[in-house]
Symmetry: C2
Subunit: 217 residues, 2 copies
């Protein structure tokens, strides 16, 4: 089959979007290939799925009412690969990886390649890059870096009246538990250090916010 090159992928992603742009996709590619080599996965399927997994907008507000970004990207992938003469079965394998890579998605990854893509994508919401991208996403969505988390949000994930969603909320709701959702052993191993960085950063935010609070005299 004709594979996709990282060069070709450049045309699908924004160079200057630090959250879901080209840099993120290339890091996911690198991590996926590393995991794939260790686990003996089909690297052609994996590489192709990694390069296409966010090709159709994973930005704030996009794809929420309409087709979700993983569904839209899977359809886009089929178009691209059909044009390159890929067979139906391989296209299906790539699509399965893309459709199931999302943490909040409804469909779970079944194939080894899909589980690896899921894990590689999740490793990039952990660690320093995960923290940085979460700050970036909050900025794109007009949300603050930090705002206090209510007991209701802690228990249910639903903000109470007047509570603004912040990057810290995303950590409480999702980032800090992503590690427990990883599928492969080498990804869980790579997640150890990233979990420490993630907790250091976000618990640091909460501590510093408390330390810099003031009472209007």
């Amino acid at each position: 089959v004709i594979v996709i090159s990282a060069e070709e992928a450049r045309t699908w992603y924004e160079e200057d979007d630090p959250v879901h742009g080209l840099d993120h996709v290339l890091r996911v590619l690198g991590l996926a290939l590393k995991l794939g080599e260790e686990l003996g996965a089909d690297l052609e399927i994996l590489k192709t799925a990694a390069l296409l997994h966010d090709a159709q907008g994973a930005h704030p507000g996009e794809g929420e009412d309409r087709l979700s970004h993983e569904q839209a990207s899977a359809l886009f992938a089929a178009e691209v690969l059909k044009e390159k003469g890929w067979d139906e079965s391989s296209i299906h394998d790539v699509q399965h990886c893309i459709r199931t890579h999302r943490f909040r998605g409804s469909e779970r990854p079944q194939s080894l390649e899909a589980q690896i893509l899921f894990d590689a994508d999740k490793l990039d919401v952990m660690g320093a890059f995960g923290a940085a991208r979460t700050i970036g996403y909050a900025m794109q969505a007009g949300q603050p870096i930090y705002s206090p988390v209510s007991d209701q949000f802690l228990e249910t994930g639903e903000p109470q009246a007047g509570e603004s969603h912040s990057a810290y909320h995303e950590y409480i709701f999702k980032l800090r538990v992503v590690r427990d959702r990883l599928y492969t052993e080498p990804a869980r191993r790579m997640a150890e250090e990233r979990q420490v960085i993630l907790e250091t950063f976000f618990e640091g935010l909460a501590a510093e916010a408390a330390m810099s609070a003031h009472v209007d005299p």
Copy 2:
């Protein structure tokens, strides 16, 4: 004198700018008052200077060719305080704090209040908030989270041809040495934990970038 309230300061800052917006100013206020109480500073001067210190645009590209943001904010402060009937000497004290708060500025803080404002402002470029704001500033300026640092940049602070400035560059050039520039002892004490978080975060970026690099097969 009639003091400025945090409520009044709201009108000078953007609510949704996580880098130099209202949240930053209120954290600097909180830190400055904490340091000022411990060191016996004039809290009225300090509070007023903190609330006004970035009132005239500290955004990428702003105030670089024209008046620098600390000069412009000092002029703005004088206008505001004259209108409130402040005496010239107090206005001068506030202006000195504002003019000397900048790391890259040419004038150094001489009064206790100016040294405290400098330190409070610098504590907010350290730690988790410092890391988050540096990511935010890079996004505002269209710069990446991370790009490799050349030997030339390490030695001189000048990028070599084709080297893009990233948030990581800002850490190498400025953030990691800010601690050594603090003036007051309690600020240096508060900087300890923040230095650890800063290094953990940015060294994490470099390590994760290396780990997720790929060679195009």
